[in-house]
Symmetry: D3
Subunit: 321 residues, 6 copies
């Protein structure tokens, strides 16, 4: 595996400006939860961003949500009003793929389907349309945890510019970006993505094409083992979460984290991993299936391993597990 | 499972003094790495401690090591000279079990054998001798991760006072104590141990008798999965460690942690878990076996997943894995 | 799990009549093998039953089959002619869902598809039509072994009245009814179903939503192990069956039972269980697959583990296994 | 596998007497629980029995226990006083192997060790001493569930007369005898054992040498699956037992049966089966290990899955599982 | 399993001519890679062959390819010009199923779909059309490795004449033919196929219906184990291949063989086997998935485990594995 | 892994003589089956060999056996009388380790114990004695398939000269030598062993320390899968062997090979591999256990998968499997 040698610390300001010049504009297709988060990160790092949505209303919603999250940051003293204005000024929403034509780096982030999966066909269509408007050396990335970049890029003329990226967790301190080279991806393209990671202050980690990449495979085995321990009645749910936070120092207990990520997404991902590896350790524990079958998906539904109020505040353990 | 309801925050100072009075004196049998750490914790929490060793020389070694660690803490501004003196003043070493006779809580911590396991026979002997000198209501605890408390206590007259405890990690922030009730243990005894945990500022977590308890089962599946990811060549060793620290916020990368804990202990524990559960997920990965067979046990041998200099400073990745 | 405390023996006659009054009428949708069996059980217990079928001819067939089974019971001195007349008098067949409108308990029993599975879509349609005609507090039940009640009820207005029930075996002595609460089911509804179980003289057993519930998971592991023993050539097929009946006292040998239940249904159920649990112990043994692939499904096809004549009488072991 | 064709029903009285003549005398070495049961069965079937014990006291104990069990049978109208006297008259206890010299069929039944296993060395010694006193064509049998007959007989001169037998359950209706041919056993010897089975009114079932034979493999998978269902909290312990008795018609619920058989024996047997097959389905469930580690072995200890009083009467479920 | 006793060596020339008379004409439907190979084999063995294709152009292509392969054989002194002419003279291509009407043995060999699988529906259609034109006692065979003959023949009038055959490897020395009886196949039909095998100088091996038959199950476990050894970095790819050829004497190293057979076909077959057996040992190793996902299928794509030039000559190891 | 680049073909005669000079004398400790084979190979390659045995009688036996095997080779025209004399002239037997003192390469080959394993303690003693007499740069090798070289060499002064070698099969065409570097082994030592391999005309393959190395892991999975296929009754034993020889071109069918190698050794090796990997695929199939338990170990005992006469000629299939 090619080494990613350039240390993040080495990027002085002036160098950064030089780097930034490499990216005249970033494009994002789809501005749901993941898309907004990328738009936000990018604009706060000083880059111009254009995002594509399917209706004027959705564009407006996305902009409001982004503004709202910046306001929250201001309240926490993490941003000034003028910085917010500058950030918002770098963001443009559009209905038209042609507005991406000057972008040298576009990330596809279309929404998940009801079944927790984004359609390959839809994504291929996005890739095809991007190739129509972009310059031949613009990078096209998809945001995914399962094996697809070689497949998505198969029909393009310039396959070598396609790459897959994955932000494992939406948390301001979890600044690590998983980067997956497809079979056709050139090392120049890889270098560009690494530079992009540095610009948005993330540690780039190169990962091979595989189901769940590294981050989700780790999460899935931690969660499944915790569920087995709970099922064997060895310790209480809350105590197991304390083991993660107090002993290992994790930000969240694993049950807390599963509720945040969404149990339906995790179970679907585990099914995908079981399909690829055939190993029982990736098969969702009966506890996860029970939450999945009864649509207790976590914070969003206010029920998962824990119970939450409408603001997402935790009220206690879910006794129906 | 009985709930441990008393919140750690609730312990005001005066209450603590009351509590402290419950424990006139703590005993520790065996003052190797684990024993010293317990003696140290206990004395710094204001309790009197007596420890038993098998030679005057070993007593002296233990006292020097403890003093050395307190000096380090002073250098880091975590302790004053007078606190150090007070702490050392609360510690007594002895060759004679009779010096434990006033203790109301004694913890057995005898050293590991060459093969990574402490002998059951030896421990039973310690228990027998403790029962000879202690008051009938003094608590006898063993420090262990595998199932033994019911077995160790089987020959005693007062089986109900025996309990197993486990400090999962030696780190000043990892203040969690796993407590295992045996089949004979009364809830009064459990209560006493919980109070002890509070006095030494640890979160008590009650865990059922089982191989690896909770903390080590979690560690073992994280480590094994990380080894499989490494073996499949999905990411580099250092990048996998970054996933643990940056994404999940853990104190250590899992390979780093394994080197600190000692690979021989982990592999032996995994064998024990495989013997109990028969599940391949607990069977040491070929990478772990290779380190084990070639005695590259981690920091102590200066070779494990990483390479270290004589002071334990990491020099780089071990290319012989 | 809520305890089901009311003992079946406690139900004296007068109390029963009181209970019976609670159920003015029972409805059954679909009168194939399973439906007829429920209609029969219910009418013999003194309750009025209405069943829905899709053609006048199917109604007539169902009534004839029920009458035939009552005649058989008379021949075995288990019923008198007048009891038979009374029973038949309590049964009504209909083509029209409106005839269910007075029912306070309706059980969906539509037929299995060719592939051994009933379509979810079809069942949802039945549920929708039932809700149109029934009172809001009438209970709607489905007869199933795999996880679906939460899914089936998801689109209804009164989800809380839906429940899943399962009669594990059609045998006059196997009087146990598995009852599955969905996530929305209230305990009042559960109570009603328990009363219904008592009225038809079945022991109610509350089971959580899961693939195969309890009864079929037990059967499947017994059958698969027996197949492995047969495959390893440790004992003859008939001797293995004797172990079940003579040592453990089971009504049927496990191979005999599989032939009765239908091997295609069992294999489909095992696939469902493997999909949920990913454990090889639920994967049909090569012997089962061979019978399945060659459509030797058991008694109905006159070939399964054993060979049968047209009346279902066993002729000997199937040498083509 | 050789077929065992002779039907048990075919044995008319006069034929039986002829058969009986074939066995002038039966010998039993060791008269613990299993041995007594065989002595009892044999004498009640009209055969002369000599048993060997290691002290006069143990002989007396064995005779009293047998007499006591016959008295119980009289109370239940299953035996008359004169039949009892005749039965007791056919039983002789002895300290001397020479008293076995006229026996044409001797069964070794020495006691289990503390660890649940009988020593191979001890058994080999018994076999050696039997060969010294017996006629060359007398059959020597061992009573066992794990693979040993080929090993036990390896040092004898007349290996061809050795055979292994197993009474799967001590219950007056469970009249099935598993018979295992070793590699050297002739079919004449097998025929003799089959005749013996008929004489004591048991169905003979020929089984190949393997760990757990057929009966115990079936029991072990039923028990382990039931434990998993319990652990997953799908149904209550008592309800799971009802599924076995009501649906499948078994004499005992599986948890009840495990308590009767002794959990320590079952766990040891499972370990043996795991050692041979390496399949997780034979590895004792965490619930079984917990009972095993805490010495809650079942009826004898008054605690197992259920709690019992001193007479073995069930008091309720064991809440410490 | 019926024994195949007739030894291949016993077939003298005159007997062979008698046998040949049994087969007036052989038919082949579909003349892709597998079909051509069968046509070629058959014609060289002195039998008349008619093959069906879907266009005149495809007929011409097939004939050219066959002629080309005969020319290669001439160059290697394995054939004379006049033998070639005789062989080509026995081959006829046709667009019309009616031209098969005199055939007494027809083999269906239609092409694989893009996804590596031939459609069941398409094959059933071929079977139906064959039955329309063939005499009732003509044998219909399909060329397959997965379970389907009982299914394919289910709708035919003369099911008893259907059989499945499999040529495990296209190599002039690998003359073994796997023959699978369906549930309806008579032994006369089996005999005919065995005679056909002898005529084309192949050893017939009767195999039961199952996924992967015997040949592919063996290949798949060899390949998967070799991949695991490679992944664990125990030896180099080329050295592992040498172990197969030098130690065991195989014609090809296993990686070499996989590249020849096509990795996409092998992975699809493994998925089929995992679906049937549920055993992880049949689940493609991560290395195989990586080649599969990136469409490095082997010799045809010039990239697989090794790299090849356009003529199929091996250039070295593929470093992108 | 270090590359072994030197091609075997490159060794011209004069170069060989140069190489030979590097090895003045080869030593072998233990002259059982494996030892004799090494002595023979080495002497035929023109090197002087000294072997150590424990009695004059055993020395004589070894020499006779070697002479006998050379005579057989002469009969097959593979050797002349004068070559035989020269070969025998290069071999010396001795009782005294001091006779090894001029050797620059000594191979330990002591006999297997009854249980199929050579004692580590005994081997360590041999190593210790070798170090006493040998020059510090003489290479010490052990002949083994399981992980031990790092362990065996741990107590020596010159650990860096220890290495493990393995001749996977005793067949004149299977000329491949597996070489295992221990953790201390230098690359100079590795180079020497590679040169030795070339001198005896074997392909050297470098393998990492692990249970079963590469050759035996491959054999074990082939054998186990073949046993499963046999147990599932998919094909006959002889036909399965034909698949190996005809399709894949192996020298022996796998059952034939197992009989040659000795089933007790293979089962013991599989147990070792299961202990290390915990994967069921290495656990001996019930068929192998049955042969093992009944001591039908293969050719030597004249019974294994096949039956043999006293000269080792195969008589047919063993029907007692």
């Amino acid at each position: 595996m090619a080494e990613i040698k350039e240390p993040i610390e080495g990027y002085g300001l002036s160098k950064k400006q030089g780097e930034r010049a490499l990216f005249s504009r970033i494009g994002v297709v789809g501005c749901g939860r993941d898309g907004r988060s990328i738009v936000n990160l990018t604009a706060q790092s000083g880059l111009e961003v254009v995002f594509i949505e399917i209706s004027q209303e959705k564009i407006q919603d996305a902009l409001s949500e982004i503004e709202h999250s910046l306001d929250t940051k201001i309240e926490n003293w993490g941003l000034t009003q003028s910085e917010k204005r500058a950030t918002m000024g770098r963001i443009t929403g559009s209905l038209d793929y042609n507005d991406l034509k000057d972008c040298d780096f576009v990330i596809e982030c279309i929404r998940y389907e009801a079944n927790g999966e984004r359609s390959i066909a839809l994504r291929k269509e996005v890739f095809r349309r991007l190739e129509e408007v972009l310059a031949p050396d613009a990078v096209i990335a998809t945001n995914a945890t399962t094996v697809i970049i070689s497949e998505l890029s198969a029909d393009l003329v310039h396959k070598e510019r396609c790459v897959s990226i994955h932000f494992p967790m939406s948390h301001s301190d979890a600044r690590l970006l998983e980067i997956v080279k497809g079979i056709f991806t050139t090392s120049e393209v890889l270098e560009k993505v690494i530079r992009f990671a540095h610009l948005i202050k993330h540690i780039p980690v190169e990962v091979r094409e595989s189901s769940g990449l590294v981050s989700m495979r780790l999460m899935v085995v931690m969660l499944n083992e915790a569920c087995h321990i709970l099922m064997e009645n060895l310790a209480s749910l809350e105590d197991i979460d304390k083991e993660f936070t107090i002993i290992y120092g994790q930000r969240y207990g694993i049950f807390e984290l599963a509720d945040l990520q969404g149990i339906e997404k995790i179970v679907m991902l585990m099914e995908d991993m079981f399909r690829e590896y055939g190993d029982k350790k990736y098969k969702a524990s009966p506890i996860l299936w029970r939450l999945y079958h009864s649509k207790q998906y976590g914070v969003k539904e206010r029920r998962g391993f824990y119970i939450y109020d409408e603001t997402g505040k935790r009220l206690g353990v879910n006794n129906l597990i």
